[in-house]
Symmetry: C2
Subunit: 223 residues, 2 copies
């Protein structure tokens, strides 16, 4: 038997799915459940196809996650940035932060794979904006790169600590500083004194505050 001939003139067995459908289903599952619990098998089941069929449309699981990530990044509305360099950096970094806060797994994927060689051109604008603003503020290229990296570390750390805190996804006591009740006041007097208040203090979202402290320390002093 010769291979069947489809109406579109192409030959062979017709597809049961497409890359776009796969990405949409993956995103659905990630949003419903966590990205850690997304498995190739579940994704195929969601689509009603054989597990191994997926491997005809994406290289492997990592490839799949990067595709979903870039799609997500491209869909986010791009905000207006303020004129002042320092405010511009804060705004761009906060945009990054907020984007990651709703999709913390993106940070895991990006840090797992060396970041940006993997991002689409269109998703790089916050990086460009931060570097550009730093140079506007009087930084050399090198200082601007250093500034971006510091901001990136701070942002990644905040997201990961927050995301991994048990069952407190939105705001809250991320550090989960639930001291053992048996803190030794001789060894840790200040921690003992703070005691239960730590939880209260740590409940606030301090990302912007720390970010401003960092940025003001990184840029050449311009009053």
């Amino acid at each position: 038997m010769p291979p069947s001939k489809a109406p579109n003139g192409r030959t062979g067995r017709p597809p049961v799915t497409s890359r776009a459908e796969i990405l949409a289903a993956a995103r659905r599952l990630i949003d419903q459940d966590s990205w850690e619990r997304l498995t190739v098998r579940k994704l195929a089941a969601e689509l009603g196809i054989g597990t191994t069929t997926l491997y005809h449309h994406v290289r492997d699981k990592e490839d799949l996650l990067l595709l979903v990530l870039n799609e997500y990044a491209g869909q986010l509305p791009r905000p207006e940035l303020p004129a002042g360099p320092q405010d511009r950096i804060v705004a761009a970094a906060t945009f990054l932060h907020d984007a990651f806060a709703t999709w913390p797994w993106a940070v895991e994927v990006l840090t797992a794979d060396g970041f940006v060689g993997l991002l689409d051109d269109a998703a790089l604008w916050p990086v460009e904006a931060i570097v550009a603003a730093a140079i506007d503020a009087g930084c050399t290229q090198q200082q601007a790169v250093v500034a971006f990296r510091s901001i990136w570390y701070y942002t990644v750390g905040e997201i990961l600590v927050r995301a991994r805190s048990p069952h407190r996804p939105v705001t809250g006591a991320e550090l989960h500083f639930d001291f053992p009740a048996n803190l030794d006041p001789a060894k840790t007097p200040h921690l003992t004194a703070i005691g239960r208040d730590w939880k209260t203090y740590a409940a606030a979202d301090t990302y912007p505050h720390g970010l401003r402290a960092l940025v003001s320390g990184l840029l050449p002093s311009s009053t």
Copy 2:
């Protein structure tokens, strides 16, 4: 047959291993290979015991990692700290950073489980030192907690980004900013201009620089 009676008077089958031996073997395997590749099965093989025997000495894999971590933390020599509050914070944070830099999996374990309720009393001194110094510098308790958290985020981020960068464990181009050659100069002029130099700039260890910027921004201005 009655249960055999050991010379020490205790009854039953004699142990083939101990918690101490298990922790030592786990540490050996983690140092040799990465902690991601430590499996319960490999650990049992290393000890020459049945896999499931491990579960009589540790609750589960997470428990095992925490035990190893606390042992490691307790063994690190505690440095002298400078007198000035700002320098003291930098020194304590740098100690944390360096400890994690040689054992990045510790950060993974700690961030995975909400940090410090899990640390031994003895391992908490850097936290106490940072909070104490912040209060010395004029911070309120709340400001001191915020300062610690910001420093913690920055440190965690640096370690994780560095640790996960492919095959560059010690120093180096952690961000791996290997732009696609097809960067659009219209969209990302500054990144395009920096180009290959990014790698050079990013090769430096900028943790201390960013840390100082952050700390100086966080403390009440004291010249």
